[in-house]
């Protein structure tokens, strides 16, 4: 088992560090409905962590808890070993957690460039007066951050559409722009909610390549929700399996594949 705290090196030569994000005994309720029941798992520095499970298992709610949008009734979230006090989502983002959304949540009225620049919000702090005059710090910041954004645009190969309004883009490209926006924040932990949903095989391959490159080149830690088992098993270092708000499995792809509870959840089993 790779549950020890020490870092280790994977078969393909990447270094996985200590625990970065630790979720302990999380319970989340909406009114009387328990969406998540007493779940604990962790995410380690530099790894690709997958969360899988049938529809309605509470996977997206889990990401929403990590990004601070939902506040769990019980349990705690530790980031870098420190318990995270209740804070609004934009402060969580400031700690270095960025994400994409299941139903694309781009800013439809803005261009691709502006969308990605919005992702760099936390790297810009010129005063309102400097911005109003477009002089000094504001202008300098704008150019510096534009350079950073252009690197991401190059990386994701969306140079051609940078001035296009997002609302005119096809689905696959929108997904990519959303990833670009998340990357623009230069996050330590990147949360991807079904990054390949609705894509064809070619687009999925592109996306998988981007995810692996990201993890490899920039050492970004990634937690992703995905339904395509092939992709999940290929990409991830460890997998959490959820069903009806409970955790029913946790381990390497091989371990999870052999887990009886997981097989039951996916293939169905008579509850008698």
């Amino acid at each position: 088992m790779k549950d020890s705290v020490e870092s280790y090196v994977t078969d393909d030569g990447r270094t996985i560090g200590g625990v970065m994000l630790d979720l302990r005994n999380i319970t989340l309720r909406f009114g009387g409905v328990e969406a998540i029941k007493d779940i604990s798992f962790n995410i380690r520095e530099g790894e690709i962590r997958a969360i899988i499970g049938p529809n309605g298992a509470g996977k997206s709610s889990m990401l929403n808890i990590i990004s601070g949008f939902y506040k769990p009734q019980e349990g705690e979230v530790l980031f870098d070993g420190v318990a995270r006090p209740p804070m609004p989502p934009y402060q969580v983002a400031r700690q270095g957690i960025a994400r994409t959304f299941q139903n694309i949540a781009l800013f439809e009225g803005m261009s691709v460039l502006d969308n990605v620049m919005t992702g760099r919000m936390n790297h810009m702090n010129a005063s309102i007066f400097s911005q109003a005059m477009w002089f000094g710090k504001a202008q300098r910041e704008e150019v510096e951050n534009r350079e950073a954004v252009e690197r991401i645009i190059d990386f994701l190969e969306i140079q051609k559409i940078r001035k296009t309004p997002v609302s005119r883009l096809p689905y696959g490209l929108k997904k990519r722009v959303e990833l670009a926006r998340a990357l623009a924040a230069e996050p330590r932990l990147l949360l991807l909610d079904e990054p390949m949903a609705g894509m064809n095989v070619e687009e999925k391959e592109d996306m998988s390549r981007f995810i692996l490159d990201l993890n490899d080149e920039f050492g970004t830690t990634i937690a992703l929700i995905e339904h395509d088992m092939g992709v999940v098993m290929d990409l991830s270092d460890r997998v959490v399996v959820m069903d009806y708000g409970r955790k029913i499995g946790d381990g390497t792809p091989d371990e999870v594949r052999g887990n009886q509870g997981v097989i039951d959840a996916y293939l169905g089993v008579s509850h008698d």
Binding site: F30, G31, N103, A105
Partner: protein, 332 residues
């Protein structure tokens, strides 16, 4: 009982009477909002327009006479007949139904699926349009409604209640018109509830309010329902317009008074009929009491201009979903 306390009660009673009218207008909003998600700012102007139309028909005015006269140089004003009240009311209802159909056909059919705020702004445009049309059709001078509604205060109530206090208390002063208005409003609300609960169209209406697509899939015509709710809202507007018109004359300010239904809705929630009624009563009583206790003596009066809005604003900050709305769970 001390007479101050009794005067306080009188203020509350009068507030309740005003509140009933607010609730009535608010009901028109709720009908349309539930069925189509449109927040109809023009409800107040609809009340004005309906009242103008009723007066115009009763007096036998030629519609658009000023415009026709200006274009053709004619001297048209009146047909020279007077229409009896019940017939005029029936004709006004027909006009409101036609209006509902036109609005649906030419405006909101083309805005299906737009954001709520766009729909809202479109209804502001509609309010302007309708105000202009009303003025063009019937002229903009202040009109009085001659429906034979009782005016003056209710003597019998005064006589009966004067016994409650000592010599300085002369009994509750309540206008007869307000009592009539309250009764009419109650009848109308009951009729609407019966309609919604026990008729086929009413059930279809509630189905649409619940889920547009599901309603479509079982063969309910959305278009028909929307015309229906706009017509019903027109009828409600007519009643509200008549009651207010009888009180203070049919004029533009009537549509501004009707705007008070907006804070009523914010208190009661946009989808709840009981909410609209209770919200209306709260606002009616609240603004009268505030004016009586604080506004008049300390703030120079006329606080009922803004009190309802401020109350709703403060209320919303602490309970954004209104009194009866469910807690909103946001999703991404």
């Amino acid at each position: 009982m001390s007479s101050e306390f009794l005067y306080g009660i009188e203020v509350i009673i009068n507030g309740l009477m005003a509140g009933v009218l607010y609730a009535l207008v608010a009901l028109g909003f709720v009908l349309i909002y539930k069925a189509s998600g449109i927040f109809n700012y023009s409800q107040g102007v609809m009340a004005l327009f309906a009242a103008l139309t009723l007066v115009g028909i009763m007096e036998g005015q030629v519609p658009f006479s000023h415009l026709i006269n200006a274009i053709f140089g004619t001297e048209l004003h009146h047909f020279g007949w007077e229409v009896p009240a019940f017939l005029a009311i029936a004709l006004t209802v027909v006009v409101m139904v036609i209006f509902a159909w036109l609005v649906q056909r030419f405006v909101f059919r083309h805005l299906v699926g737009q954001e709520p705020i766009i729909l809202f702004m479109a209804t502001i445009g509609l309010a302007y349009f309708l105000e202009g049309v009303g003025d063009l059709m019937w002229g903009s001078e202040i009109k009085t409604i001659a429906l034979g509604l009782p005016q003056g205060n209710a003597r019998w109530l005064e006589d009966v209640t004067s016994a409650l206090g000592d010599d300085t208390f002369y009994g509750f002063f309540v206008r007869q018109l307000d009592i009539v208005a309250a009764l009419v409003a109650m009848v109308l609300v009951t009729a609407l509830i019966v309609f919604a609960q026990y008729t086929k169209q009413g059930r279809a209406m509630r189905a649409v309010a619940d889920d547009h697509q599901a309603a479509l899939s079982v063969g309910i015509s959305l278009n028909f329902i929307w015309v229906l709710v706009w017509s019903l809202a027109g009828v409600v507007a007519l009643v509200a317009g008549v009651m207010w018109g009888a009180k203070s004359g049919v004029q533009f300010s009537l549509s501004l008074i009707a705007l008070k239904a907006l804070p009523v809705l914010m208190l009661g929630g946009f989808t709840s009929i009981p909410g609209a009624i209770i919200g209306g009563l709260i606002i009616g009583v609240g603004e009268q009491l505030f004016e009586y206790t604080i506004g008049g003596p300390f703030l120079g009066g006329a606080t009922e201009n803004w009190f309802a809005y401020m109350l709703a604003l403060l209320f919303l900050v602490f309970r954004p979903q209104g009194l009866f709305g469910e807690k909103i769970i946001e999703r991404v």
